[in-house]
């Protein structure tokens, strides 16, 4: 049994995690007998027409949990079910947004939940084969998902006639090899096709021309794991949770300087105060909240003063941020925002695939600028450069969102913590958490830099 840090057990808002923590939930027998597993697949295959399944998902208002928040039912309806030739469902299990561990939480606790969701989706959109693109470092989730698929195959839930229905269904796995960019859907498809993972220009969209040139539905792990509940209970019942435009619940991975980091299932519309201060037990003892990333490192930061912001996508958009991947990174007041931004920019620069110039050049440029500022060689010029690079990275100048995300880190930290940047760049000092030497809790300087100094 994996150790559980997060939501499990009976609670009104535990739609996904209700049965998490049940011993051996990853075995098909337990998933069926204890958690009522595969009843949704049975219902979908034997009692529902594919169009009705899609329509039920539309009614639920479920929105993609990978980051973009696109309406899931609408996405399903883009696939022309009657078009001749193969169609695919591709599952994005390449979870790699910094601060995000919810898909791993699902895969390690209830892999059959995902298997069931995949099979329902494949049947609904007219695909016979699904491919799970799972990140290469997820050895344990890979093994558990493989076993779950084999159990389901042995039981006759997938194969030539799943549950007796004359509709062949199969699920296959493909392992990633370490590239953040593969979380982007068209880069993922390139990778699945055995290429360097560089995003494609759209159109054509994957629904028309996706994996191996065929119509493809791409969904995130959590999105599909939510589908069995919707089929069992109805889309309308799901829509009663959450807000009008962001219905339902979602898993938030809370990490960083909190007392109880974990993956918590939250009804959308609850506040981050509830998530951080109650569910995650509040900020590290003796410290106070400084800032948090509400939806993975790519979501623009929100300072402590915005702790009452709600978790639904509209509230986050109004706060000039986004729900993203649901990775809530919490930083306390002993840490320096400039160093944190520097660390994240190094990430984006490293992970840029190099296809689009603003992202390829901008990331490294920003890192070098931060290097100078943190080496106390900064001036107004460096601050202006950061703002200019940030602007150049944003607003759809690249084929995917990686460049924008890098720009948002700079832009949002500058917007909310201008003074701290000016301390570093103009006054060559850091005034965070007491004197740096005494606190000992700063993000350390880059080691290469320290070594060469």
């Amino acid at each position: 049994m994996p150790e559980l840090r997060g939501s499990f057990g009976d609670a009104p808002n535990h739609l996904l995690t209700r049965w998490f923590g049940t011993p051996d939930l990853h075995r098909l027998g337990v998933y069926e007998s204890k958690a009522g597993g595969y009843s949704a697949l049975r219902k979908a295959l034997l009692e529902m027409a594919p169009a009705d399944i899609t329509s039920e998902v539309k009614t639920s208002g479920l929105r993609g949990r990978g980051g973009a928040g696109f309406a899931t039912g609408t996405k399903w309806s883009f696939i022309n079910r009657d078009a001749p030739g193969p169609k695919y469902v591709v599952i994005n299990a390449d979870e790699s947004e910094p601060g995000t561990s919810k898909d791993r939480y699902i895969l390690e606790n209830s892999p059959h939940l995902l298997v069931e969701g995949i099979l329902i989706a494949a049947y609904a959109v007219g695909a016979n084969q699904a491919w799970v693109y799972i990140r290469g470092e997820y050895d344990e989730p890979y093994r558990m998902l493989s076993e779950a698929i084999e159990e389901a195959r042995a039981k006759g839930y997938l194969g030539p006639k799943p549950m007796g229905k004359d509709y062949p269904l199969d699920i296959r796995l493909y392992r990633g090899h370490g590239a953040y960019i593969c979380g982007e859907e068209t880069a993922l498809l390139e990778s699945l096709e055995g290429k360097r993972a560089q995003p494609r220009s759209r159109p054509p969209f994957p629904a028309v021309k996706g994996a191996w040139g065929r119509p493809t539905l791409l969904n995130n792990v959590e999105t599909l794991a939510t589908v069995p509940w919707i089929i069992n209970n109805g889309g309308a019942a799901y829509a009663k949770f959450g807000t009008d435009k962001s219905p339902g619940t979602r898993l938030l991975s809370v990490s960083g300087n909190v007392r109880k980091p974990g993956v918590y299932e939250v009804e959308l519309g609850q506040s981050f105060r509830h998530v951080i201060m109650e569910l995650a037990g509040g900020v590290t003892e003796g410290r106070s909240l400084k800032v948090f990333w509400p939806g993975g490192s790519s979501a623009p930061v929100l300072p402590a003063s915005m702790l009452d912001t709600k978790t639904d996508m509209e509230a986050l958009a109004a706060a000039r941020s986004m729900g993203g991947s649901g990775g809530v990174i919490v930083m306390d007041d002993s840490h320096c925002i400039v160093r944190a931004a520097h660390r994240l920019l190094k990430f984006y620069a490293h992970e840029s695939c190099g296809k689009c110039t603003p992202c390829r050049v901008g990331g490294d440029w920003a890192v070098r600028t931060y290097d100078r500022i943190l080496a106390n060689e900064g001036s107004q010029t460096e601050l202006d450069t950061l703002q200019r690079v940030s602007d150049g990275l944003q607003n759809g100048r690249c084929l995917c969102g990686l460049g924008d995300s890098a720009g948002w880190v700079i832009d949002s930290t500058l917007r909310h913590f201008r003074e701290e940047y000016e301390d570093h760049a103009l006054r060559h000092e850091c005034n965070v958490g007491g004197p740096p030497a005494a606190s000992g809790r700063h993000l350390p300087r880059d080691r290469d830099e320290a070594a060469s100094a």
Binding site: S101, H177, E193, N257, A340
Partner: protein, 217 residues
């Protein structure tokens, strides 16, 4: 003199049939090659290319894009330590500093004496509630401390970890299930034990002429 065994190349030639289009076999094939050789050198990449009827430059292009493909030998036990934000906020940098000293290497390019250990700092591994964390020998280790690192190193060197508090500390602390070899289930077979190599054995450390990958440059 080929870099990869005839047996392995025969296995690689069977991979393309498992995918809707044969090109998808390139990464699973490179996986097999890396498993046998310990890393990917130009000869191995050329042989994979020939077996898959692809251009060698193409295969090398793929291998150099992804961080899990190693272009230079690593230690027998390679530490992938997350130093992204969630882990750094909880002390990942101190873990790296300690690890470097404990395995006596100067940096991520180096391999320790007898080829036993090496490390690299990696981006988020998706287990942020257990930060600081890392991956070692196809398994995650959580809530890292200097002591846990020492225990793991002692364990890999074949020494018993120190006793603490009256019972033997589990190496790495509370990770999930016991380490199970990741078998290659249907249909992608990326991980397997090499028939030609004793468990854990790696080829001699030579051929370090391959430059380390620099992405996005």
């Amino acid at each position: 003199m080929s870099a990869l065994s005839p047996h392995l190349l025969a296995e690689i030639k069977e991979l393309p049939a498992r995918y809707p289009q044969p090109r998808s076999a390139v990464m699973p094939a490179l996986d097999l090659a890396q498993e046998e050789l310990g890393y990917l050198n130009p000869e191995a990449m050329s042989e994979v290319a020939a077996a898959l009827e692809l251009d060698p430059g193409y295969v090398e292009g793929v291998a150099t894009f992804y961080t899990l493909f190693h272009l230079a030998p690593t230690g027998k036990h390679h530490f992938y330590v997350c130093t992204n934000l969630s882990c750094t906020l909880r002390g990942a940098d101190e873990i790296v500093e300690h690890l470097k000293k404990a395995i006596a290497v100067t940096g991520p390019d180096a391999v320790s004496a007898e080829g036993l250990f090496s490390y690299e700092e990696v981006e988020c591994l998706g287990a942020c509630e257990f930060a600081p964390m890392m991956r070692l020998d196809r398994r995650y280790y959580y809530d890292l401390t200097a002591e846990k690192i020492d225990d793991l190193i002692a364990d890999r060197k074949g020494h018993l970890p120190a006793r603490r508090g009256g019972r033997r500390a589990a190496p790495g602390g509370e990770t999930q299930v016991p380490s199970v070899p990741v078998e290659a289930p249907h249909p992608s077979p990326p991980v397997r034990k090499s028939a030609l190599r004793a468990p854990g054995e790696r080829v001699a450390r030579e051929g370090r002429d391959v430059p380390r990958k620099k992405k996005g440059a």
